[in-house]
């Protein structure tokens, strides 16, 4: 039987719909999530179906969005809070990092805080400085949080369903450039749920491993076809979940290829790819024929609005191919 084709934002919406149907503790809150159905339409039609209580338009105040989600979680509800852009999650940073992430630990296990905070992330859509940031490293740094950053419609649906069912707080970042980039067949119900912390093998290869996630998956795939024309076969691993991340799959690949580059959209310094690179350098030293390399965005404060500047900031297949070639030829 053919499954319906969905783009990433439709898959997000389907996951929310199915989980709200399955479990009446699941509720949604955020700015414009109700009547408008979200600025990217990730919650379109959900308020009409489930009512204004379970799909709640909040005041324009991110700290209280996170705090109210936490209050609901402490009372047994499963809140999926939307931050309109990942860039706007910072007013909620104290609630997320000091409160939500530490509830279980600081109460010695007496309290738990299962909730999901969704946010569109990343650039390439003329969003400029404050609609393009990739802040995953901030959240990956925090024990107590889980962080998911999917790159396909099926992964987005399967991992969002898993995040809603998870007993711990999950930051769920959705690459907005991919919201309507591709459609694929996406399953329904229980069969669609994916485990967190398991990477996917995007492309098998023998010469070099590229570890990536989010929008950079698609860019790395294009870069890999260019290298393939030169006889260099890149194995691509999409982490999908960043905390916890699937280090074992990466190690197995590097033991085969002997070379690894980490491709990520965020600023190079202190980005999550830097953690991946450090861990793999430590664990794979004996297997490596080349230094572990990072291919990342430059260390400028954020993505500019002007097209030439945006282009200069963003990684593209050419830049990634150049970086991968350097590792392959080292």
């Amino acid at each position: 039987m053919r499954m319906p084709e969905r783009n990433l934002v439709q898959a997000v919406r389907d996951a929310l719909y199915e989980e709200m149907e399955r479990d009446d503790r699941v509720c949604i809150l955020g700015e414009d999530v109700g009547r408008k159905g979200g600025v990217f339409k990730a919650t379109e039609g959900l308020q009409q179906r489930f009512g204004p209580q379970r799909v709640l338009d909040t005041p324009l105040a991110e700290s209280s969005i996170a705090a109210v989600a936490q209050g609901l979680a402490l009372e047994g509800f499963l809140a999926v809070a939307e931050m309109q852009f990942a860039d706007y999650s910072f007013p909620a940073f104290n609630q997320i990092v000091n409160e939500i992430a530490k509830v279980r630990y600081r109460s010695n296990g007496d309290f738990a805080c299962p909730l999901v905070i969704r946010a569109p992330t990343g650039g390439g859509v003329r969003g400029a400085l404050y609609h393009s940031q990739s802040p995953e490293a901030f959240y990956c740094h925090v024990p107590g949080l889980k962080v998911v950053l999917p790159s396909t419609p099926a992964d987005a649906k399967g991992l969002l369903k898993a995040a809603i069912r998870d007993p711990d707080p999950v930051i769920f970042l959705e690459p907005k450039k991919l919201y309507r980039a591709e459609r694929q067949e996406v399953g329904d119900g229980e069969a669609a749920v994916l485990p967190m912390g398991v990477a996917s093998l995007v492309r098998p290869g023998t010469d070099l491993t590229a570890v990536t996630y989010g929008y950079m998956r698609a860019v790395t795939v294009q870069a890999a076809s260019r290298l393939s024309a030169d006889g260099i076969e890149v194995e691509i691993i999409d982490l999908r979940t960043l905390r916890p991340w699937d280090v074992e799959s990466c190690i197995r690949s590097i033991e085969k290829t002997g070379r690894v580059a980490v491709v990520y959209e965020a600023n190079r310094t202190g980005g999550f790819g830097a953690e991946v690179a450090a861990e793999l350098a430590e664990r794979c030293f004996a297997s490596l024929d080349a230094p572990v390399s990072r291919i990342a965005s430059p260390d400028v404060p954020a993505m500019p609005f002007s097209p030439p500047l945006e282009h200069a900031f963003m990684l593209n297949p050419d830049k990634v191919a150049d970086g991968l070639r350097r590792v392959a030829r080292y």
């Binding site: 005041p59 105040a61 705090a67 936490q70 209050g71 279980r104 109460s107």
Partner: protein, 328 residues
């Protein structure tokens, strides 16, 4: 403002008085233990005890939810924490029911008592209480959420966000500000613009009242009225209790360095505990003999609690990584 004599029994008020005495005696003991090098850090409720216990006495511990802040030592006792439990927390022992010795004393939490685990940043519990209030409104079981904080916390954006959200959604929440006029060393005129905190309620369209925090019956009446309003579905209230900070901010602070000595002496003479005792005696609910024997009883309780907590086991170093996630 009604005095609330008619809604309170003698037993209830004497029980509250015992809790107030316990808080003071425990706190005095903690202070000595701190100066003896046995307790690393405490935050004293000295001067706030009567207001805290009066507020909790107007509510339903075990049924309602309580988001307390770090000065709520007496409120925690009123919510059902025992002297020994609070001493376990002071000594950071494994059996500390709030956090197993992980947090500094003053971050109270107990799921079975409805005391929501606190943290040490200022004000985040205020919008959290709005969220708990929203959930309680949905559950419609008649429970409410009480959240307390100092006047310093009202400078935080979370104060505005919490009151705004709770007022919009008519959440059953009582916002209880314990205004002691000092946020560590910063006095109220540098913290709060306008006449005070209570007036801010008008901006949210909710009741805001200011009460004398040393008047047990007045505080009880204000909280009782706010509770009736919350349980009737009429939404949140803001109460500002004027209290005295008779001790420094914490054991790491010495307020004599930045407060006027004459003012400190004048405040010490206005200690709310003797005032509560006099009020009870005037009503014929307490005699000097009964008071003396109550104090002896409390001293013995505190002695036992201290000995037992000091002898209790520390957390195992191997437990450091436990409860980071559900599966660890």
């Amino acid at each position: 403002m009604p005095t609330d004599d008619r809604t309170l029994t003698r037993e209830q008020v004497l029980d509250a008085y015992r809790t107030v005495l316990r808080a003071r005696t425990l706190d005095d003991r903690r202070f000595v233990l701190n100066r003896a090098g046995k307790l690393a850090f405490i935050i004293s409720p000295r001067g706030h005890e009567v207001a805290q216990v009066a507020a909790i006495t107007a509510l339903q511990p075990g049924g309602d939810r309580f988001c307390l802040y770090y000065r709520n030592f007496a409120a925690a006792l009123a919510c059902g924490f025992t002297p020994e439990e609070l001493m376990l927390s002071a000594f950071a022992r494994a059996a500390d029911p709030s956090s197993g010795g992980r947090q500094t004393p003053g971050n109270f939490g107990s799921r079975r008592r409805g005391v929501i685990i606190g943290s040490s940043t200022v004000g985040p519990q205020i919008p959290k209480a709005a969220g708990i209030g929203l959930a309680l409104k949905w559950k419609a079981e008649g429970a409410l959420c009480y959240v307390s904080f100092g006047e310093g916390a009202t400078s935080q954006g979370d104060f505005h966000e919490g009151l705004n959200f709770a007022a919009i959604h008519r959440c059953p929440v009582i916002f209880f500000c314990e205004n002691n006029r000092w946020a560590i060393s910063v006095p109220q005129p540098l913290q709060v613009a306008g006449p005070g905190v209570a007036e801010r309620a008008a901006g949210y369209g909710i009741p805001g009242v200011r009460v004398h925090g040393d008047d047990f019956f007045a505080v009880h009446a204000a909280v009782r009225q706010a509770a009736e309003r919350a349980r009737a579905g009429d939404g949140p209230s803001l109460i500002e209790a004027e209290v005295l900070r008779l001790q420094s901010h914490s054991t790491d602070d010495d307020q004599r360095a930045y407060r006027d000595a004459v003012e400190l002496a004048a405040e010490a003479a206005r200690d709310p505990i003797p005032r509560m005792r006099e009020a009870l005696m005037q009503r014929g609910w307490l005699t000097a003999e009964a008071d003396a024997s109550l104090r002896e009883e409390v001293n013995r309780d505190v002695e036992r609690a201290t000995e037992s907590a000091e002898a209790a086991a520390d957390p195992e170093p191997g437990s450091l990584g436990r409860h980071v996630y559900a599966d660890a």
